[in-house]
């Protein structure tokens, strides 16, 4: 009973704040709403007997990725230009298609969601089991993901670097009093 109340409360919070992300015109409010939505999803993971994944969700998504989003939004100072809206026909088609897609998806998922019955073995979701599985069966993807993260770091640095002028060129220009 208690679980059902918690589920409904946090499901409503998750959906409401997701709608705020999509519908509010200020991106900072959208980012904070997304953080709240992620937090409610973490509660859902706890209800699904996976507290380790819930902690990971808050640490990675709400604690790191959304901070990155917030930094970019604040640094680009985006709140002063009100975002122009799309043409009404595009917005209407977007809402209509999205809602139709959503309703169809919900209907079919509920109707034919779980076909294979529940397994009778207990669900182990603690850090030890995941760690063992990760280092035994999934060791190769684990190492590949670390290389992928390295590639992402280098890529992000390369994309945002301003044009780097060599020091001797700049000194030579200064000596000739060339305006830069």
């Amino acid at each position: 009973m208690f679980e059902i109340v918690v589920f409904f409360f946090f499901a409503v919070v998750a959906v409401a704040f997701a709608l705020m992300v999509v519908l509010h015109r200020n991106p900072v409010v959208g980012a904070i709403s997304l953080v709240v939505s992620f937090f409610s999803l973490a509660v859902m993971y706890v209800l699904l007997d996976a507290p380790f994944m819930a902690a990971l969700q808050v640490i990675i998504y709400a604690g790191a990725i959304m901070v990155l989003f917030l930094f970019v939004i604040m640094l680009l100072n985006l709140q002063h230009e009100p975002e122009p809206l799309n043409r009404p026909i595009q917005r209407f088609l977007g809402y209509f298609a999205g809602s139709a897609f959503g309703l169809t998806l919900v209907y079919y998922v509920v109707k034919a969601g779980v076909t294979v019955p529940r397994a009778e073995v207990p669900f182990l979701s603690d850090a030890h089991t995941i760690g063992v599985r990760m280092f035994e069966a999934y060791i190769f993807p684990f190492e590949m993901v670390s290389i992928l993260l390295l590639a992402a770091i280098v890529g992000a640095l390369m994309l945002t670097q301003r044009e780097v002028v060599r020091r001797d060129e700049r000194l030579a220009d200064l000596e000739q009093e060339k305006p830069r």
Binding site: V29, I59, F71
Partner: protein, 366 residues
């Protein structure tokens, strides 16, 4: 899910106790900070309000309540008001997973001819003994960045924004070092629960199967590098000198809380001291044996619990005094130097610590 009413009642008692102590850290620390800084700087400090200036915190609280509470022009009203809450949230919720005393068996309580309580129940002095203990602390502590960022952005003030961005960047950089330094401890304990971490540190230090010199088996002794990284990262996380770019009095007016006054500023103020208290409690739990009294194994009785809780409070207080001491002794470094050592010195040191602990565990020495 059936709820046992006695369990619920005991949990409420624990919550009330822990909350009372956490909320009262702020007034005590305000007094300690001001008298302590006066002691270090060879001046009297507050001595007008009450004996030894003990009522200074009360005067400060009264001042905060009576000041005008405003919202600056063209500031984002909702986020401006919400930001102090985000700052307070991690500080208040992370104490729920820190054990503060030895588990004991509740004795039978018979008063006035009626048995109020049947004995034999084990009382765990920790509000929520979840199996992911320390991950919860990291998860909630990473939400503290939002309070800072929102306060700086919503104030509609360039100084606040700069202070907030600098402080947020510093906090997320040192969060990594904090988590990695704690991993050494978790490796040695073999579990994420903080109760297991504390139980692992009871008793004396055993090297090669022999007890040498009766040193208590606290984690600070084998993992000195990890402890240094952790305590430096703890200073960076709580925005205390030498890492206080969030405030940076001489540079940025008052940083991210320039535009705050009255109770909202008081909430930031409280949040900072409570975060200090929580991180000190965490450091004591991870590295200094938590509630363990050295050279004595406490019995599982109420007296044993009280003494272990007292030992925990003493250790946390000593660490809080170290926080105050460092603040008024060390200068503030340059910001780029700070970020550089955060990524290039402390993060590799944390990795080296993990390597050393792994070698020690593999050799069977821990």
């Amino acid at each position: 899910m059936a709820f046992d009413p006695t369990d619920v009642a005991l949990t409420i008692v624990k919550i009330a106790l822990v909350l009372a102590i956490t909320l009262s850290i702020t007034p005590v620390m305000v007094w300690v900070e001001r008298r302590g800084s006066a002691l270090i700087q060879d001046r009297p400090g507050p001595n007008r309000v009450g004996p030894l200036g003990l009522l200074q915190s009360l005067a400060d609280a009264l001042k905060f309540i009576l000041k005008e509470d405003f919202v600056p022009a063209q500031a984002h009203r909702w986020l401006y008001t919400l930001a102090p809450t985000f700052g307070l949230l991690p500080a208040v919720t992370t104490v729920a997973v820190i054990p503060f005393g030895r588990p004991f068996v509740i004795p039978e309580l018979t008063l006035f001819g009626r048995t109020w309580f049947e004995g034999g129940r084990l009382f765990e002095p920790i509000i929520a003994d979840v199996e992911i203990g320390i991950l919860l602390i990291f998860a909630l502590a990473s939400l503290a960045v939002y309070g800072l960022a929102m306060a700086g952005w919503a104030s509609n003030n360039k100084f606040s924004l700069f202070g907030a961005i600098r402080a947020s960047a510093q906090m997320i950089s040192y969060e990594l070092a904090l988590a990695l330094a704690a991993i050494g401890v978790l490796m040695s304990a073999g579990s994420l629960r903080l109760t297991d971490v504390v139980w692992r540190q009871t008793g004396n230090f055993v090297l090669f199967g022999v007890e040498w010199l009766k040193i208590p088996a606290w984690n600070v002794f084998p993992m000195v590098i990890g402890f240094i990284v952790f305590i430096v990262a703890a200073f960076a996380e709580t925005n205390r000198l030498p890492f206080d770019f969030a405030e940076a009095e001489a540079e940025l007016v008052a940083g991210y809380h320039t535009e705050y006054s009255s109770m909202k500023f008081a909430m930031f103020f409280m949040a900072e001291y409570m975060a200090m208290g929580t991180i000190s409690a965490l450091t004591v739990t991870l590295f200094f044996g938590g509630w363990d009294i050295p050279w004595w194994s406490e019995p599982a009785t109420f007296a044993g619990f009280l003494l272990s809780a007292l030992a925990f409070l003493v250790k946390v207080s000593l660490l809080l005094f170290v926080f105050v001491w460092v603040r008024w002794t060390l200068p503030r470094l340059k910001y780029d130097y700070l970020m550089r050592i955060g990524w290039k010195v402390f993060l590799p040191m944390a990795f080296v610590n993990i390597l050393i602990v792994a070698i020690l565990i593999a050799m069977g020495w821990i």
